[in-house]
Symmetry: C2
Subunit: 224 residues, 2 copies
DNA sequence: AATTGTCTGATTGTCAACAATCTGGCTCCC
DNA sequence: GGGAGCCAGATTGTTGACAATCAGACAATT
């Protein structure tokens, strides 16, 4: 910790960057409902920008998978099928197990403190119960820990691509279930094992943790 | 095989699409040397197109990792460090092991025929020795088999993002080593195990296959 | 000597108009 | 009835000009 810690990263100054962020937020929070149709001109007008930077922003979201582009028909906010969800979870399990293997030897007391801090933040966010999306972001931030610690840039990049999809689904699920977010103590074991000395146990727990996450949330999707 | 098999996919009609392909090829073959500096206007003039679609194409390549954008300084063809290579290989090992686990039960006689055909094509391409990049594409196509068979779209997408980076490195390596490509029989065991009934042995072999690939090729990189 | 201020050419960011293309529905013919 | 041809409106693709921003060099200041 140095004396510059108070500095916040300055916000994106380009229209494209800000647009990506704004659209991501709108999609992820469900303010733009799944399946909804948009067009470039319509969006550009609504945002008060021209189509150039908007197109670049859109392409980024399409690439991540938040939007689907059907040429000459319009843009559509992604819909999630059961298969999508299973794919997201199975890939995520894979990635996070790998991340823990890579990060295991790099754990330092400071890093473990950081992990605990993230969990505290998650709990705090759940108890505050102000912004319903807060806990979701906090949970994802907690899970980001192992990816960051691994030092594996490509892996972190993969996680960052997957994250918005998870976020999208969490928010969708939460809305359908009357804003019931993650439980306070849901990550207690996760933290304990991550701080311990049994990598095998941690990896096993990840399988459980993820499978449980999938099972308890998959119920309300009726699609094929 | 049906009677429409002769149909070839029609080429991309948009400037953006064609530009992505062309730039990808140029980077991957080393015709645009690693570290080389480019600018948007320069490229747009050279390609005879305007900057709009070019920018979108560039962004795609930056996202994949083939180009690096340093704002207001220029675009640079990616350079590969030893760490990059280790990351590419470790992630790839992960993904391909996962792909085989997912694909294992889906193997049909037809699918295995397809796999053998891909290996034949690889061998043919090596023996023909015309286009030095042919064997590289054929080898990647062989490895794509398990991803396609898995039916896991997200996984396939991850592989498709990783592929150009591998291709880039292979070509780079080949140029440095006087065009010595993959060996004729390099995938014999791979094919045999993939056709057999011991998933564990296949997964173990993948570790070996990849580690060997990394070790025999990592030599000539002197970077940190 | 080192830090800060200022200028300039280069580079990217943005815009608004225009062109190309597609979709969906309609007609017409068989 | 149904399939080919065609049309209108909508949507995306493309362009060239203009604006904003930056890196690097050099001067001024301490």
């Amino acid at each position: 910790m140095n004396h510059l810690a108070a500095l916040k990263p300055l916000e994106d100054t380009t229209i494209r960057g800000r647009t990506v962020e704004q659209l991501r937020r709108l999609v992820v929070t469900g303010e733009l409902a799944a399946g909804m149709r948009l067009t470039e001109t319509e969006l550009a007008d609504a945002l008060g920008i021209s189509r150039g930077p908007l197109r670049e922003a859109i392409r980024e979201l399409v690439d991540i998978g938040l939007l689907v582009s059907k040429p000459y028909k319009g843009l559509f906010v992604r819909e999630i099928t059961r298969k999508d969800l299973e794919e997201i979870y199975s890939l995520r399990t894979m990635l996070e197990r790998f991340a823990f293997q890579e990060a295991w030897e790099k754990r330092t007391p400071e890093a473990l403190e950081d992990l605990k801090a993230r969990n505290k933040k998650l709990i705090g966010s759940i108890e505050a119960a102000t912004d319903p999306l807060g806990p979701i972001e906090a949970e994802l931030h907690l899970h980001s820990w192992c990816y960051e610690l691994s030092g594996h840039r490509l892996l972190l990049q993969s996680w960052n691509r997957l994250k918005p999809n998870l976020q999208f689904y969490f928010a969708m699920h939460q809305q359908a279930h009357e804003r019931k977010g993650p439980k306070r103590r849901s990550h207690d074991l996760y933290i304990r094992l991550a701080s311990g000395n049994d990598l095998g146990a941690m990896l096993d727990h990840l399988n459980d943790h993820m499978r449980q996450g999938l099972e308890t949330t998959i119920g309300f999707i009726d699609c094929a």
